[in-house]
Amino acid sequence: MSFLLEAKGISRAFGGVQALNDCSLNVEKGSIAGLIGPNGSGKTTLFNVITGYVRPDQGTVNFAGEDVTNARPDEIFSKGVGRTFQLTRIFARMSVLENMLVATQRDESWLKGLTRSMSSASEVDAAMDMLEFVGIAKLAQLQAGSLSYGQRKLLELAYVLIANPDVILLDEPAGGVNLTLINEIASKIRLLNKEQKKTFLIVEHNMEFVMNLCDSVTVMNQGHTLMSGTPAEVRADKRVLDAYLGGGEEEEN
């Protein structure tokens, strides 16, 4: 079977710390994949490798059958991989609408940017529709820096979506937001997956969120991928319990 996004044998060390050690991850087209693991297990580093922010020491990343291992973040985004960050990152001193417009033209050459206006009417419409979809359309003219944390999460989701990427990587979409908003975000993801066949890869600590939403889950521990399977399989796996509750293996030693 071929996968939309494939990371194979990824290793990466920062100084003496082996952040990633022979990690492999596959995301099937049209699925919602989860990536879980204890703190410091390397989930975000793996995200950074896939999206070009960090270069791997070893291993390859394939997207839609193409090797994108050493591509820059902007190139990877152009090819159709969008992501959000764990601590939301928005353009604080620009308006919410301007935030959206930054992402609208994912494959436009930079030279064209010099001669074209900031936005076309159709881009503004699309941006407003997307803001309406996530529920913050009324705030379009405000400075993004004044939004609440939850609204920032929604904005970040919205401007990644507007570029219409094929696969969307979400780094803790439910982290630090209230329960109402968690459910809200989960339902948006489900809707996008069902109606627009969007592919998702989600890092999340909230187990309920992951288990309810994901078709497949990959578990990481101490820099390597422990296992992959359906949520039910993951829940039943003893190694996963060990990883989360403190290693039984270590006690045996």
Binding site: P73, W110, Q151
Partner: protein
């Protein structure tokens, strides 16, 4: 379209254009001419540094390059002492862009404080080269052809050239602000890595912005050289120039369109007026220092942004809209 804001802009520019027709005292036309020159320089500097957040303290590299371009070309091409000299002004701008390219290639690799320090270091390379190289005339500088014009009207052509530079710089800056390119510069200011992850070619955008901003500053350097008739390396490559330009922009409103114009006009006029009337040259430095401290403490975003936010009551309005939206999201989910 004639909006209220545009009428104000046109009105203010018309006042500046009419000034030398009303006030003919050479002292005053000279003061406002210098104010205009700094308005053009600061606006052009702000077009890159203000929009992208990369505070470059090397504007004097471009200013000095423009000045030396005019002086050297006038000498080698034997340009007569007439209005022909003014054709050297755009060449000064182009040469400034040519030196901006390698400077940008080096300095734009790093960010924030490191970037500031590197631009200062590069500036001193330029200053020391101008002092020590043989073709620059060393510390005694270079002489330009002496314009045999009457004392009374001498300033007027320079005044209008500086005015034209302000108009060009302002239009350019306003235009950049509403292009996709300008949007990308501002995205880089707020979060460069995030912008990169949304497909912005940050390297190309930064470099082209940096090089573009050098043009008007180089033109101003050439204008200055022709006006003075004599240039010295310590005056055209002056570290105080770098700092003044940044101060003017911060005072008026860093990254805004009107801020650098206001800051440069007020500070340069004030400085020249004080020097004129209280010949002790350092009084203005004390006043500037105090003024700058007050602005940084009480209105860190500059006068223009401060006043605008007060007038539109931005914070109150935003707070209530955000609270409404929070309630709406919570309500929809129940």
């Amino acid at each position: 379209m004639l909006t209220k804001a545009r009428i104000v802009w046109i009105g203010l520019f018309a006042l500046l254009a009419l000034f030398p027709l009303v006030v003919t005292t050479p002292t005053w036309t000279s003061i406002i001419m210098f104010a205009l020159m700094y308005m053009a320089i600061t606006t052009s500097w702000n077009m890159f540094s203000g929009y992208s957040g990369y505070v470059a303290l090397g504007a004097a590299c471009f200013f000095g390059t423009g000045a030396y371009t005019a002086a050297l070309l006038a000498k080698h091409w034997n340009v007569p002492a007439s209005g022909d000299l003014f054709w050297l002004i755009p060449l000064g701008g182009i040469l400034a862009m040519a030196v901006a390219l390698p400077i940008g290639l080096i300095a734009l690799r790093v960010r924030r404080h490191t970037f500031v320090v590197i631009t200062i270091a590069i500036f001193f390379v330029f200053q020391l080269s101008a002092i020590n190289a043989s073709f620059t005339g060393g510390t005694s500088g270079l002489q330009l052809p002496f314009l045999p014009w009457g004392f009374q009207d001498f300033n007027v052509p320079f005044y209008y050239l500086a005015f034209a530079m302000v108009v060009v710089a302002t239009l350019l800056s306003a235009w950049v602000r509403q292009t996709r390119f300008g949007l990308q510069l501002m995205a880089i200011r707020d979060d460069e890595d995030r912008a990169l992850g949304l497909g912005v070619r940050v390297w190309a955008v930064k470099l082209s912005g940096f090089v573009m901003s050098a043009f008007i500053i180089g033109c101003a350097g050439a204008l200055y050289a022709i006006y003075q008739g004599q240039i010295y390396p310590q005056f055209v490559f002056n570290p105080l120039f770098d700092i003044s330009v940044a101060l003017m922009a911060f005072l008026g409103g860093f990254g805004t369109l009107a801020g650098p114009l206001l800051g440069a006009f007020v500070l340069e006029t004030l400085q020249l007026w004080l020097t004129e009337n209280y010949s002790s040259g350092s009084l203005y430095l004390i006043i500037f220092g105090a003024l700058f401290l007050l602005v940084i403490i009480f209105m860190p975003q500059g006068v223009v942004v401060y006043v605008k936010d007060r007038v539109t009551k931005r914070e109150d309005r935003e707070r209530s809209m955000i609270a409404d939206n929070e309630a709406q999201i919570a309500g929809a989910a129940q």
